[in-house]
Amino acid sequence: MPQEARFVDYKTKKALVVDDYPSMRSAFKMALASFGMTKVDLAATASEAVMRVKSGNYDVIICDYNLGEGRDGQQLLEELRHREMIDLETVFLMVTAESIYERVVAAAELAPDDYLIKPFNGEILRTRLDAILLKKEAFRKVHRSFAQRDLESALAGCDVIIQEYPKYFVDALRFKGEVLLAMGDFEGAEALYKQVIALRAVPWSRLGLARAMHLQRKEPVAEEMLLDIVKQHPELVASYDLLADVQIAQNKFTEAQNTLHRGVEVSAKSPRRKRRLGELAYQNEDLDNAERAFRAAIDKGRNSVFLAANDFANLARVHLDQNNAKAAAEIITSNRKLLQESPEGKLVAAVVQAQVNARNAQHKEARAGMLEAMQLKKRGARCEPELAMDMVEACVKAGMDDEAAELLAEVARNAHDSTALLDKAKRIYQEAGKAEQVSDILQKSTARVAQLSREGALLLQKGDLRNGAQKLLQASKEASRNPRVLMNTAWAILRLVEQDGNSDDMLGNAMRLLDAAAYLAPEHPRLAGLQTMLRTIESAVAAQRLAALIKPT
């Protein structure tokens, strides 16, 4: 009966089947061949699937949720999407004998296109594939625009689907919500999610609304909504992450830690959630739980892309704070091979080893380690501010005061507005009995950025966009790793261009600043709005230039 079937041409499509049972793999192959899908590759494990996807361009991936040992189907899906190995146009169909999977899918940030419960027959497989492929067809332009970051076209495309395909009405609304959030139109997203909730309060619409409120910094409202969501849908993991964000934004760090702790209890899989839990516990000076979470982040992250050198630095830092230098050293020795694979890993290994040496009063070794670390950093190894503070600490302890001052000045310049980091610096110097040095370093390094920012803001307030933007540009040169300063500057420049037109490549500056901010703080709530503002002004400027060319005066 599915008349639609004739529109799907399976002969041209390529599929990958991932299942740990050889007999299931061949059963799938036979079923797919029965409706003309003959270009089919097979994989038995998640790692094998990753290899296959790297070299083959698949239209359809059919994957069993339970893949025996190693990663499961959901983790495979998350890794493929996270590494951008498959895009929105690739069909991912999950197959499962576990009725629990529906809960997993409801809880997952990344859902497959559909899922199929075993046992099922080949005809049902075809019906589902028909439906997904036809939907993909309808969304193709929207998905392409979104992938090319042409968000305005993606938005317009969603509206067309909402108008013309009643069947995909809700899917199009859901995607439009994502587009609006990516554009920074949080009020638009709020209105949209309220529209969906009026139809039916499905969990994703409630979560979307809470996110839109959070991004508008209406934290108490967002918190109330999320507390209600986790009560009604305790399995919806994404809501714990968002609730923790909302609580952090209100400085409710203990509550945030508890929230993430519950999230980890519901789904123990995500190393990223564990890492955040560890960071919060550490910040709350709850070293036992910080240790547990960081250790789990490393264990869960092994053999996946989610493990970072910084995870080892985090855990080692906890051990050092517990006065357990031996355990810190042990982390580096037992992971030496892995850490030597990247400059970041080498940096972490050198810093932790130097910290351990400094604690054991092996100052010569500590100094040698720090010199190596500073070389690695100079040659471009990415260094989180927390790790840079570890370097400051090691230098102070090893008597390398000049190097410590230089490192601290750099961190402080880029974090003049972060009390947590500046307080840590004070503590480090106090513990080393060098408290008199620290205020001088902090004062000198932050004074210029702070002053330039202040003066720039004042000029903007008075309506002097040009000079205000110039001041802020100087500030962002000083604090080139402070996303807030970069975004403030970009905003001022965009206002200026809006008012006076583009001159001296101001738009180029704004673009560079926003790119740098996106690298440093990809999830900052202001970023998407500024990027949209940039695109809008860019096309206005281009249109003006074109008009001037056509009608020379």
Partner: protein, 218 residues
């Protein structure tokens, strides 16, 4: 062993048996038809039995879960009613190839409706299995909107339901005497788990040209 532990043990047993049966059904699916009734017919019968047995166990597990206070529905979302009907028709045809299966979508049915697709499908499969077993030659699967509810009906040309079953469902009495009531109880639970705007879904049985099994979701 406490009552709780005993119940957990039974639940674990049900779960394990269900998984074995699912594997068995998948394995049977790999035996192809050969065009010989002496081979194909018993194969179909055994597949159907296997599917029914695993579904029964799954339903028993859900009823157990419901008795423990757990929520029955996992994933209420927007689904295409048309796709849902054609999927049910595909299921019916795969169970008995000689059967005539029609679908009918009333004009007043919107393109999408909110429901838990897999649970509703399981609830309807009960009726489908019955109809496949008892229908003379045809089954009709239809959808319409009545009093603001989506009504999905499965009708056949069988003898119809016996009076005591019609009465028990109409009076909403739990049926349990012979085991045949388990499926109906499950279907009724799933229907009633669908709530929207203060309205609750329901199961309705009647006889017309044969048995009529209807689930209404608000």
């Amino acid at each position: 062993m406490s009552v709780m532990e005993q119940q957990d043990l039974y639940a674990a047993l049900l779960h394990e048996m269900k998984n074995h049966l699912v594997l068995m059904a998948i394995t049977l699916d790999r035996v192809p038809h050969v065009g010989d009734a002496g081979h194909d017919q018993p194969l179909d019968e055994v597949r159907l039995l296997c599917q029914r047995a695993s579904e029964r166990l799954m339903q028993a597990l859900f009823i157990y879960k419901n008795d423990q206070g757990g929520a029955l529905l996992n994933a209420v979302d927007a689904y295409s009613t048309e796709d849902f009907l054609s999927e049910m028709a595909v299921q019916a045809r795969s169970l008995r190839a000689q059967l005539k299966v029609d679908t009918e979508l009333a004009d007043n049915v919107p393109a999408i409706w909110f429901f838990d697709r897999n649970m509703l499908e399981m609830a309807l499969m009960n009726a489908l299995h019955n109809s496949v077993a008892y229908a003379r030659e045809r089954i009709r699967i239809s959808a319409r909107v009545e009093e603001g509810m989506l009504c999905i009906a499965i009708e056949d040309d069988s003898e119809g339901y016996p009076e005591h079953i019609l009465q028990a469902v109409a009076e909403d009495k739990p049926l349990s005497s012979s085991g045949t009531g388990l499926g109906l109880r499950f279907s009724s639970l799933i229907a009633k788990s669908h709530v929207n705007n203060g309205r609750t879904g329901m199961l309705r049985l009647s006889n017309r040209d044969g048995a009529v099994f209807e689930i209404r979701v608000p």
